[in-house]
């Protein structure tokens, strides 16, 4: 059984006791514990079930590589699934529940899968659910979805907050172990700014657990000194609980800071995503111990030798009283020695090497530990915890030589440097045959903007596992990084650590080496996705040679741990099965993030009110308090209509239209783009941008214009006012202002840079209000200040003046067909003018109207709308706008494109009006069908609806559409099948439905 002992526990505070629950049961731990150490202290060896076979699982590791011990944390809006107990710091009242079982952790129905495991081999899903195809969606997918997944999906909105933080610095050191700290010190000595990220709450990494001395000091106190030095340096920042999550192009690094996971009551954001731009990155990310592949290596109580040592030294937790240890290297002896000294019975060390280890072996033997060389674990017996170890010869097939009863097993298959951050951006690896590990190849680093390597590694991540090598290499890695970042290194002597003589490791990818199939099919490689040695071998037999294919076929390394623990075991197994060398098989791609990071951290502050920018006009608040229903137009919110109490949206729109046509309406048109174009070449420039002539527009006058892209397609429209000889004001659509401004700048800066033109986007300088309807002039005259008579201000003219005491520019333009003025005033007085118009307009029956009324009224007049009649494939000629295309100009943007054969094709669909024969409203986007069917058996088409509304003015449905030879087919009736199975009949008519002569706007 696992238990807390009275000694050890350098990270815990025994003076305080914390209470937490696991599956509803109260348990106790101490500050400094991880959830994993606290569970072990309470003899909770069984903590979860595996993904596929629902095998009982316990804690294997002590860090980020843990594959098994994932739990649901928290409840309600703080609920989060798939949290690793090994990286979860314990806090008071923590609530955890285990995952992946039903009805309970101890008794799980799904565990029957383990009996059928013969029928769930590699590629099971691909093989089983292949046929029949018709079952994919409605039979197989629901089954797979039901049985897949680890934790549950949170049901409530996350109650926490998150944020980003941007840092530009010289050097980022990822990892705060002894290597990271040493590298940081030598780098910072040069004066470079250094940011050190450490994923845990503690500095020093595993060095204090592994022991040793640096410069004559015990490594623990050496690290304390080092930290003191670093904290005193103004150019060094140390951030604990902040994981280096990913390394990206040009020195971009993501740090994932878990601010309050360990203290949920604390204020401020839970996670903070550090977005770091660094000149150089040092990955001092350490190494991860590999498990050994033997039958039953997943039974609770079997754990990594290093983890067993961590739990003892760091948390005072003895993972077992009677321990067997299996290893292929010397490091595991440290665990045996520590366990023995802490009072555990170390029953046996099974060293796969025939000649055993070096100095550490001697030390273990001197403590009275029995060491069997050339021996292996044949099999573990026990279900929910380890009961017995069957011992066999490593070189055999698994025949048991003896059995030893025990309650914990430590295993060590060697170490894998954490090369993830080196590799994220393309750093290459080399296979170190002697140490049996992939290490970074310093000659093939990730390349930065200047073409030189911008990532280096320090310490164990570099492939150096001995303390003496680590401290020397880390010190120089810091110096080199400073140089790479453009600093001069201050020479300081490298620290020295004493060396322990170690015997070489023996690569062991299967234990015993010739294990039979029954053993192989219980020897786990990927614990979380339940991939065994037998699965990888099967994949190889079935022809999977590429490691990337094998990964996807077997799901090896595809779980939330991304194979941190044992991917190397998996690809060594594949190499072995293929008879290939390990480096020839290679590794799968390392992709960020290093461990999963929260969606909240990625979203940062962008939630709720500030999920995206909302653009508000100066009258926004008035609209809001007067019941506006909003329509998004780009990031703007515009009133769609203003329903009165009890009024439907449809009725409100109809009322607004009738009132505008009969009395007077107000529209907030502030969102319209207003671009000021000035210079000696302004006229020439606008002639190039618009299809029609602008240079001959007279000051004081307005002209409607069309803008096309160089492709010839209509992209924007609006009224241009000439302010003076050199100055024009171009109105754009609401959604187009920024785009058209950029379009103008692009042509001025990149094509016609010699032309003397300046553009300024004055869109938001003005609030613009359309005063529309037969009583519009009366209303404005009541405000007073300007002569707005038809002679002084005729249709398509503008004038400056004051209205009601507010400086205003009045454009007499109309998008509704009514007498209409658009009044631009400084934005800071927009609300004042609006309120004044509402007040003064009461006697004329003034009402505000929204964008839907605007749309209907323009359609009644046959005016096109960018985005309705146009969709990026429509040219002005399609819309009967030839009158707005100058024939006199040699060139304008789009002219050449409009001469291409496809553009001049007489069969292009052309704009017409459409009237249903029964007065109903045509469905939006409906197609007019033609005789016959196309190659796909679908009806041929001859046109489509682009705008369709109920017109309250005409009391019938009206529409516009593009129809083959439409203008030549007036009066013809077309069929429009709807998605409601009805067929609509509509007659081709002139697109101008209302006031065809245009008399109303010109009074």
């Amino acid at each position: 059984m696992s238990t807390r002992i009275a000694t050890h526990g350098r990270l815990i505070d025994r003076t305080r006791r914390l209470t937490f629950t696991f599956n509803g049961q109260d348990l106790h731990g101490h500050p400094g514990d991880t959830l994993a150490s606290a569970l072990l202290a309470n003899d909770r060896m069984l903590v979860g079930r595996s993904f596929k076979y629902h095998r009982p699982r316990g804690i294997v590791a002590s860090g980020a590589e843990e594959p098994n011990a994932l739990v649901n944390l928290g409840t309600g809006p703080a609920f989060e699934p798939n949290q690793r107990t090994t990286t979860t710091e314990l806090f008071d009242r923590l609530q955890a529940t285990s995952q992946n079982h039903w009805p309970s952790l101890d008794f799980d129905i799904g565990a029957v899968n383990t009996w059928f495991s013969r029928f769930l081999p590699a590629g099971f899903y691909y093989k089983t659910f292949l046929r029949p195809r018709a079952f994919w969606k409605h039979v197989y997918e629901p089954i797979i979805r039901q049985s897949a997944g680890l934790g549950q999906v949170p049901r409530e909105r996350d109650c926490d907050t998150y944020e980003h933080f941007n840092v530009t610095t010289d050097i980022v050191v990822i990892g705060g172990g002894i290597a990271g700290l040493l590298a940081a010190r030598s780098a910072a000595a040069s004066g470079a700014r250094v940011l050190v990220l450490e994923q845990t709450a503690h500095w020093g990494g595993r060095a204090p657990v592994d022991g040793g001395a640096v410069d004559g000091q015990p490594v623990g106190s050496y690290i304390d000194t080092l930290l003191k030095q670093l904290r005193a340096m103004a150019n060094v920042t140390l951030r604990p609980r902040c994981m280096g999550a990913g390394v990206y192009d040009h020195g971009y690094v993501l740090g994932y800071e878990r601010r309050t996971d360990h203290a949920p009551e604390a204020s401020g954001p839970r996670h903070r995503l550090w977005r770091i731009r660094a000149r150089h990155v040092i990955a001092a990310t350490g190494a991860i111990e590999r498990p050994l592949a033997f039958a039953g290596n997943d039974v609770p109580g079997v754990m990594l030798a290093s983890a067993m040592r961590d739990y003892l030294v760091d948390y005072g937790v003895l993972a077992g009283r009677r321990v067997v240890l299996a290893t292929n290297n010397d490091d595991a002896y440290r665990t045996a020695i520590a366990m023995k000294q802490a009072g555990a019975d170390v029953l046996r060390i099974l060293d796969a090497r025939d000649s055993g280890g070096g100095a550490l072996m001697q030390e273990a033997r001197a403590l009275g530990i029995r060491i069997d060389c050339g021996r292996a674990i044949g099999k573990i017996t026990g279900g929910k915890r380890v009961k017995k170890v069957q011992i066999c010869a490593q070189n055999g097939t698994g025949g048991a030589l003896e059995a030893v009863a025990c309650d914990a097993v430590a295993m060590s298959g060697g170490w894998s440097p954490v090369v993830h951050l080196w590799s994220h951006c393309g750093g290459k690896l080399i296979w170190d045959d002697r140490a049996a590990l992939f290490r970074p190849d310093p000659d093939r680093p990730p390349f930065g903007a200047d073409g030189t390597g911008f990532v280096s590694t320090a310490g164990a991540a570099h492939g150096d596992l001995a303390l003496s090598a680590i401290v020397r290499q880390a010190h120089s890695a810091g110096n080199n990084a400073a140089q790479a970042a453009g600093y001069k290194t201050k020479s300081a002597t490298a620290p020295e650590a004493e060396t322990t003589r170690e015997a070489p490791l023996l690569p062991v990818w299967l234990m015993p080496a010739n294990a039979n199939v029954a053993l192989r099919s219980k020897a786990w490689l990927d614990y979380q996705n339940d991939v065994k040695v037998s699965d990888v071998r099967l994949a190889a037999r079935e022809g999977y040679e590429s490691v990337e294919h094998t990964k996807r076929y077997t799901t090896l390394g595809m779980a939330t741990d991304q194979g941190k623990l044992s991917n190397i075991n998996g690809l060594a197994t594949l190499a072995d099965a293929l008879g290939a060398a390990i480096p020839a098989v290679g590794t799968t791609t390392f992709r960020p993030p290093y461990t999963p990071i929260s969606f909240g951290a990625i979203a940062g502050e962008a939630r709720r009110e500030i999920f995206q920018p909302l653009r508000r006009t100066p009258m926004h608040h008035w609209h809001d308090t007067h019941g506006a229903v909003w329509e998004p137009v780009g990031h703007w919110r515009r009133p769609y209509t203003y329903p009165r109490s009890g009024e439907s949206v449809q009725d409100a729109v109809a009322r607004e239209i009738r009132n505008t046509r009969q009395a007077v309406g107000l529209l907030d048109a502030s969102t319209l783009g207003k671009l000021i174009v000035k210079g000696p070449d302004a006229g020439r420039f606008l002639d190039m941008l618009y299809t029609n002539m602008m240079s001959n527009l007279k000051p004081g006058r307005c002209r409607y214009g069309l803008m096309c892209s160089e492709n010839g397609f209509l992209m924007d429209d609006g009224v241009v006012a000439r302010i003076d000889d050199q100055t024009f004001l171009c109105h754009t659509t609401s959604g187009g202002a920024d785009h058209i401004h950029a379009h103008m700048e692009e042509w001025l800066q990149t094509e016609w840079w010699g032309w003397q033109v300046y553009v300024a986007n004055a869109t938001e300088q003005y609030a613009q209000i359309a005063v529309v309807g037969p009583k519009a002039r009366k209303l404005l005259e009541k405000l007073g200040g300007m002569d707005l008579s038809p002679d002084t201000l005729p249709f398509m003219a503008w004038a400056d003046g004051h209205l009601g005491g507010i400086k205003a520019r009045v454009y007499r333009i109309s998008f509704s067909g009514e007498l209409s003025y658009e009044i631009a005033v400084p934005a800071s007085q927009g609300l004042a003018l609006w309120s004044a118009l509402i007040e003064a307009g009461r006697e004329f029956g003034v009402m505000p109207y929204g964008t839907e009324a605007l749309h209907v009224m323009r359609a009644e007049k046959g005016f096109i709308m960018i985005g309705d009649e146009t969709d990026g494939t429509v040219i002005p000629q399609d819309l009967g706008l030839n009158w707005a295309i100058s024939k006199k100009k040699d060139d304008y943007l789009g002219k050449r494109a409009q001469q291409r054969a496809h553009m001049t094709d007489p069969d292009r669909w052309k704009l017409v009006g459409l009237e249903t024969t029964d007065g109903s409203v045509l469905p939006d986007g409906a197609y007019a069908v033609a005789e016959g069917v196309n190659a796909n058996g679908q009806r041929n088409t001859q046109g489509r609806v682009t705008s369709t509304y109920h017109s309250p003015t005409l009391e019938r449905g009206i529409a516009m559409g593009l129809v083959l030879h439409g203008p030549d087919r007036m009066g013809e009736v077309l069929e429009f099948p709807g998605t409601d199975d009805k067929i609509y009949h509509a007659k081709i008519v002139d697109p101008v439905f209302y006031d065809k002569e245009g008399e109303k706007q010109n009074v």
Binding site: H250, Y252, F447, D450, A742, T750, W753, R900, A901
Partner: protein, 109 residues
């Protein structure tokens, strides 16, 4: 995350401040041009693995367009320069030659 030096305002701008503008140094063909020339101007774009010339706009910054010469495979940046030019300046061409001897791009070397 690309970081490019904006030659117009002098800052090192993060990709999220920039807007891409596709291939640089296109020659505009307007009315009077052949179908072939016009089609090539409008649609035919190089997409090389290696040395490439691109247009970028410092959209959230000074608003100016500039050109960048970079390697599309390694993301090495050889230099950024004014958009008011019809071909890469000599300093840029030399910088590329130093790093990628023998490079060519649309007949430029």
């Amino acid at each position: 995350m690309l970081i490019l030096h904006c030659p117009c305002c002098g800052v090192y701008a993060d990709e999220t401040e920039l807007a891409p503008g596709g291939e640089a140094h296109l020659t505009r063909h307007g009315p009077g041009s052949s179908d072939e020339a016009f089609t090539s101007y409008l649609f035919a774009r190089k997409n090389p693995r290696g040395v490439h010339f691109e247009r970028w706009r410092h959209a959230h910054g000074c608003g100016k367009w500039f050109h960048a010469a970079r390697d599309t495979a390694t993301l090495e940046v050889f230099g950024t320069y004014s958009a008011q030019t019809t071909e890469p300046p000599k300093a840029i061409r030399d910088a590329i030659a130093k790093r990628r001897p023998g490079w060519t791009w649309r007949g430029i070397a």
